[in-house]
Amino acid sequence: MTRVDDGTTSTGRAPAVEPVAPGEWRIARWTPESRVGVVAALVGLGVLATLPDWGSSSDMATVVEIMALLALAQMWNLLAGFAGLVSIGQQAFIGTGAYALLVLADDHGVDPFVAVWLAALVAAALSVPIGVLAFRLRGGYFAIGTWVIAQVVFLMVTNNTALGGGSGRSLLSLGDYDRITREDYTLYTALVAGAGAVAIVVLVLRSRLGLALRAIRDDEGGARGAGVDVYRARLAVWVIAAGWTGLAGGVIYLQRLNVQPTSAFSVQWTAFMIFIVVIGGLGSTTGPIIGTLVFWILRDQLTDLGEWYLIVLGAIAIVMAILAPKGIYGLLNRIRPFQLFPVQRRLRPRRRVKARSAS
C-alpha cells in the first residue's frame, strides 16, 4: 500500500516481514529521504539568510513574499489537510496581524519587529471567540461561516476612523529604520515565519495533538470513543494556525508598508492558500512547499494575462481537486513514496538488539 499522506493513518499496520518477537520492534520516524530533506531545508535556509550579502532588494522582496505565502499555505494545510477545518476566512487573521502590527508599532511605540510577534498573539487571541462561533457549523457551512466572520472583522476595521477607515494607514514607525536594516530584518522575520510554519506542522504532527487530529480525520466517532477531546484538539490547531497566519500577515505588511482594509482582508489570500495547497498536495508537509514554488512560478508567467491569470489558477485547482486530490506531491508519491520530513511512524525490526543477543 502506498501511503500518500505524510501523516499516516492512525491504524497503520506493521509492514509484512518475518515474524519477530514483540519488543524487537522499534518505531522509526526518520527515513533516509527525511534526513536529506531536513538537512537540505536547513542548508537552504542558511543560504537564504545570507541573501543580504549577495542578493538585490527585489530578490529579498521575492523571498519575503514566498516565505509569507509558504507560512500561509502550511497553516491552511494544517487546518484543512489534518484537522478537517476548511476555512475561507483566514484573511481575518492576516488583516488582524497587519492592523495589530500597525497599532502596536505606530500608536504604542513598540518596535515593529517585536510588534509583528505580538500581532501574531493578537490574531491567536481573536481566533478563540471566532472558533467557538464557527465550530457550531460543519463542512461547507463552516467554510462560509468563517468567511462571514472575516467580513465582520473587515467591516469593523473599515468603519473605524482610528484605524484609517476605508483607506487604511501607513506603517510610519518603520521609518525609524534605514532601508537596508529594514529589509534585512524583514527578510529574517520572513525566513523564521516560513521555516517556522514547516517546523510547527512537523512538531504538531509528531505530538499527541497530531495523533488526535489524524484519528479525528480518519474516524471522528472512533476518535471520540478512544477518548480524544475532539473540540479541544480542533480549537488548539485553529488557534495555532490563526496566530501564525497573523504573523505572516504582519510580515507581508512589514514589506508593503501600507495597510489597506480591502487588501488586508481580501478573500484572495485564502484563494491563494487553497490554490497552493491543492496544487502542491493537501494533507502533507511537503505539498505546500511544492505548491508555493509552483504558484510563484505560475504567477510570474501568467501575470500579463490579467483576469485570465485567476481563471487559469481556478481551473487548475478545480481539475486537481477532482482528479489528483493529493496534488503534485501525491502524484510524485505514486512513482516513488518519499517523505521529506520525519512525521510518519513506521515499525522497524530492532536489528541491533538481535545482533547483541546473538553474540
Binding site: I144, I311, I318
Partner: protein
C-alpha cells in the same frame, strides 16, 4: 415612523435574501453540497439577462423567461459533469471545487463585462409604490419580489411533498445508497436538484439586478447573505428560509437606519447572535451532521 418604515422595507428586502437562500438550502439539503459559487452564479444569471436586454431591448422580467431555463440547464450540466464527482463523503472536495468555480466565473464575467456597475431597467414598476401614510410607501417591485419568493417556496414545497420526483429527492437526501437500491438514478436527481437550485438563483440574480446595480465581484456578498438566511431560518426548513431572509432584511435596514454604514454589519451580527444563541436556527430541527 422611520423605524416602522425600516422594518417594512426590511421585510420586503427579505424576499431577495430568501430567493438566494432557497437554492443554497436546496443543494445542501439534498446533496450535502455547500455551493460556494452560488452567489457568483446569481451574478452570471444577472449578466445573461443584461446581455439579452442589451441585444433585444426586452424587459428584464421577460428575459427571465429565458434566463431561468438557461440556468436550469447550466445547473444540470454542472452537477452531472463536475459536482457529482465531488460528492465523495468528504465535504472538502466540493468546497474546493465550488470555491474554484466562483473564482473562475467571477473573473470570466470581469473579462467579458469589466468591473463597471451595471443595472437592469424593468421600467415603471421599479419606481411605482403604494402610499400607506406620508412616511411609508411600499414599492410594487419589492412587494413583487417577496411574493415571488413565497411563490417559489410554495412550488418547491408542493414538488417535494406531493410529487413522485419529490419523494425521490427526499429518499436520496436521507440515504443515497438505499435510494439507489430502490432504482432512483441519484446522479440524475442530483443534477435535477442543482438545475432547480440555479433556476431559483436565476430569479434572485435578475431581481437583484433590477433592484440595485451589480458588478462581477458582488456575488460573494450575495452568497454570504443567502447563507445567513439559511442558518438564521434553520437548516432543512423551507419556510425557515423565508423567515431567515426576512430577519436578515430587517436587520440590514434597521442597521442602516441607526448608521448608514452599518447595514451589512448589523445583518452579520444578527447572524452571529443567532449562531451563538440558537445554532440550529429559528425553525431548524438540528445541526447538520
Amino acid at each position: 415612523m422611520e423605524w416602522v418604515n425600516a422594518v417594512i422595507q426590511g421585510i420586503l428586502l427579505g424576499g431577495v435574501f430568501a430567493l438566494f437562500a432557497t437554492g443554497l438550502s436546496l443543494a445542501f439539503g439534498i446533496m450535502r453540497l455547500a455551493n460556494l459559487a452560488h452567489g457568483t452564479l446569481a451574478l452570471l444569471a444577472a449578466f445573461i439577462a443584461y446581455s439579452m436586454v442589451d441585444a433585444t431591448g426586452v424587459n428584464p422580467l421577460v428575459a427571465l423567461l429565458a434566463v431561468v431555463p438557461i440556468m436550469f440547464v447550466v445547473g444540470y450540466a454542472l452537477q452531472r459533469g463536475v459536482l457529482n464527482f465531488t460528492l465523495t463523503g468528504d465535504p472538502l472536495t466540493a468546497i474546493l471545487v465550488t470555491f474554484g468555480l466562483a473564482v473562475v466565473i467571477e473573473n470570466v464575467l470581469l473579462e467579458r463585462y469589466s468591473a463597471d456597475a451595471r443595472g437592469l431597467d424593468a421600467g415603471s414598476i421599479e419606481s411605482a409604490s403604494i402610499r400607506v401614510t406620508d412616511d411609508i410607501a411600499i414599492g410594487w417591485f419589492p412587494l413583487m419580489t417577496l411574493a415571488v419568493a413565497v411563490g417559489v417556496l410554495g412550488l418547491l414545497y408542493l414538488l417535494f411533498a406531493r410529487t413522485r420526483a419529490g419523494r425521490a429527492f427526499r429518499a436520496i437526501s436521507d440515504d443515497r445508497a438505499t435510494g439507489r437500491l430502490m432504482g432512483i438514478d441519484d446522479r440524475h436527481y442530483y443534477a435535477l436538484a442543482m438545475g432547480i437550485a440555479l433556476a431559483t438563483v436565476a430569479i434572485a440574480g435578475v431581481f437583484l439586478g433590477i433592484r440595485t446595480t451589480f458588478s462581477p465581484a458582488d456575488g460573494n456578498a450575495q452568497l454570504l447573505f443567502g447563507f445567513e438566511a439559511v442558518i438564521i431560518g434553520g437548516l432543512g426548513s423551507l419556510w425557515g428560509t423565508l423567515a431567515g431572509g426576512i430577519v436578515l432584511g430587517v436587520a440590514q435596514t434597521v442597521g442602516a437606519q441607526i448608521e448608514p454604514g452599518w447595514s451589512v454589519l448589523t445583518g452579520h451580527l444578527v447572524f452571529l447572535a443567532v449562531l451563538a444563541v440558537r445554532p440550529h436556527g429559528l425553525f431548524g430541527r438540528a445541526l447538520p451532521a
